[in-house]
């Protein structure tokens, strides 16, 4: 018990004095998280919208595929992305492995299904009268789609924020594709894994507190947007 209390005290002290190692890992986490969320949203939001609004062949299969991808273990994504990005892989020429960009690639693969499924649900749950009202008021097809999108905007923003929360707390992809290089690819989660293994429990706690704070603020923002 004393070990735990000491660990918490040490962790809090590190947070309060803004330990540079903790802040550096937090910065890398936020940086790769934001990039991955932006790229995943650019792909996932239109996919989710099309799946919710469109009626085309293979739609059901695409939805099942996306929903299945939600359960993909992150180490599997990491492994596959590693295969693609390694020197012998098809994308080896880009020389991305063990860079923040490699982590972003893996996190995008993780976040796209999440953004797509959440935004699809959000668009699909828009009141059916929205489309009909827009049509009868003389809206063009494009404006009808825009109106539905506008009505679903809070759900879509929540999908983006949920994706940010998810990618920020991910460890397997960051470890496998980033290589845990301090100040470069070491994120909060990979740092926690490393420091705990070294017996630096307090350091691990400090990193954990910052990570939780990031996720807490993200959820707070998401809740605020949904309530407004």
């Amino acid at each position: 018990m004393e070990f735990l209390l000491d660990g918490f005290a040490d962790g809090l002290m590190r947070v309060l004095r803004a330990d540079p190692h903790v802040m550096l890992a937090a910065w890398v986490t936020i940086k790769v998280g934001i990039w991955a969320t932006i790229l995943a949203s650019l792909i996932g939001l239109p996919v989710g919208f099309l799946l919710a609004m469109g009626r085309f062949r293979g739609r059901g299969f695409a939805i099942t595929l996306l929903q299945t991808s939600l359960g993909l273990p992150t180490v599997v994504i990491g492994l596959l992305a590693y295969g693609f990005l390694s020197r012998r892989g098809p994308l080896g020429f880009a020389d991305l492995l063990f860079t923040p960009s490699a982590i972003v690639v893996g996190l995008v693969v993780l976040a796209v299904p999440l953004v797509a499924v959440f935004s699809m649900t959000s668009v699909a749950s828009v009141d059916g009268r929205v489309r009909e009202t827009a049509l009868t008021l003389g809206a063009s097809n494009g404006l009808v789609a825009w109106t539905v999108l506008r009505e679903a905007r809070f759900g879509m923003i929540a999908a983006v924020l949920a994706a940010f929360g998810r990618v920020s707390s991910e460890v397997g992809i960051a470890m496998m594709l980033g290589g845990n290089i301090e100040g470069y690819t070491r994120t909060l989660t990979t740092a926690i894994a490393l420091e705990s293994m070294k017996g630096e429990f307090g350091f691990g706690i400090a990193l954990g507190v910052v990570l939780l704070a990031i996720i807490f603020v993200t959820n707070l923002l998401s809740r605020y947007i949904q309530r407004s």
């Binding site: 009141d127 009268r129 929205v130 009909e132 009202t133 827009a134 049509l135 009868t136 008021l137 003389g138 809206a139 063009s140 097809n141 404006l143 009808v144 109106t147 506008r150 009505e151």
Partner: protein, 214 residues
């Protein structure tokens, strides 16, 4: 001048034939009252006339031209606007809602707001202009939706049960507005299952039962 002509129009929900109209015509500036019990096909008929539902059979012409249904029928949907029984107001304030139709027709924001403000005045909604549409009462929502339909500038308005679920005060207001619209010469097709309120309007009555004109 005849604006609507419907001949042998049939519409089916799954296997059930819910509309089987032999003939209905509506002339320009006319006020047509669609009556009939709940489930008699009034709403379905209005939605077909608005171009929102595609009938399985029959001829529907607007100003002698066959109407195009669904998303492709933009021109028809800009001439004929349906006010649903339970209208949906978009997220945002009243002005944003009412200016939607003019904006959809490509008008500038100031032009659209001008038309919207006029429609808001005509429907006694001037006190609501900046209000959040989601926070309006049932009667206010209906009046705002009517203002929105008017601002859209359609030649023909289809009003589905405009006074249903309204208190006496709001019903009176809506009836008053409908009377003013009728006097202005706009073509109106109004459905109701309580026709008494419309007795003072000079109108044609089309009575429906089980999807047929009786």
């Amino acid at each position: 001048m005849e604006v609507f002509f419907l001949g042998n129009v049939k519409f089916r929900f799954e296997t059930e034939l819910v509309l089987d109209i032999e003939k209905v015509t509506v002339s320009s500036g006319e006020v047509v009252l669609l009556t009939g019990a709940n489930g008699s096909g009034k709403t379905t008929l209005l939605r077909v006339m608005a171009g929102l539902l595609t009938p399985e059979d029959g001829v529907i012409k607007y100003k002698s031209e066959p109407i195009i249904f669904g998303k492709a029928g933009l021109e028809h949907r800009r001439r004929v606007t349906l006010l649903a029984q339970e209208p949906y107001l978009f997220r945002g304030n009243v002005l944003l809602n009412v200016s939607y139709g003019p904006r959809a027709r490509g008008m500038s924001k100031s032009q659209a707001n001008e038309l919207a403000e006029e429609a808001i005045l005509n429907t006694r909604c001037e006190g609501l202009i900046d209000r959040d549409a989601a926070k309006l009462s049932g009667g206010e929502k209906k009046r705002v939706a009517l203002a929105r339909a008017l601002a859209a500038g359609a030649e023909t308005l289809l009003l589905d049960e405009p006074i249903s679920h309204l208190d006496e005060e709001n019903s009176k207001l809506i009836v008053e507005i409908i009377k003013e619209l009728a006097a202005s010469g706009i073509t109106l097709v109004v459905s109701t299952h309580i026709p008494e309120w419309a007795s003072s309007l000079s109108l044609k009555n089309v009575r429906l039962a089980y999807g047929k004109v009786v």
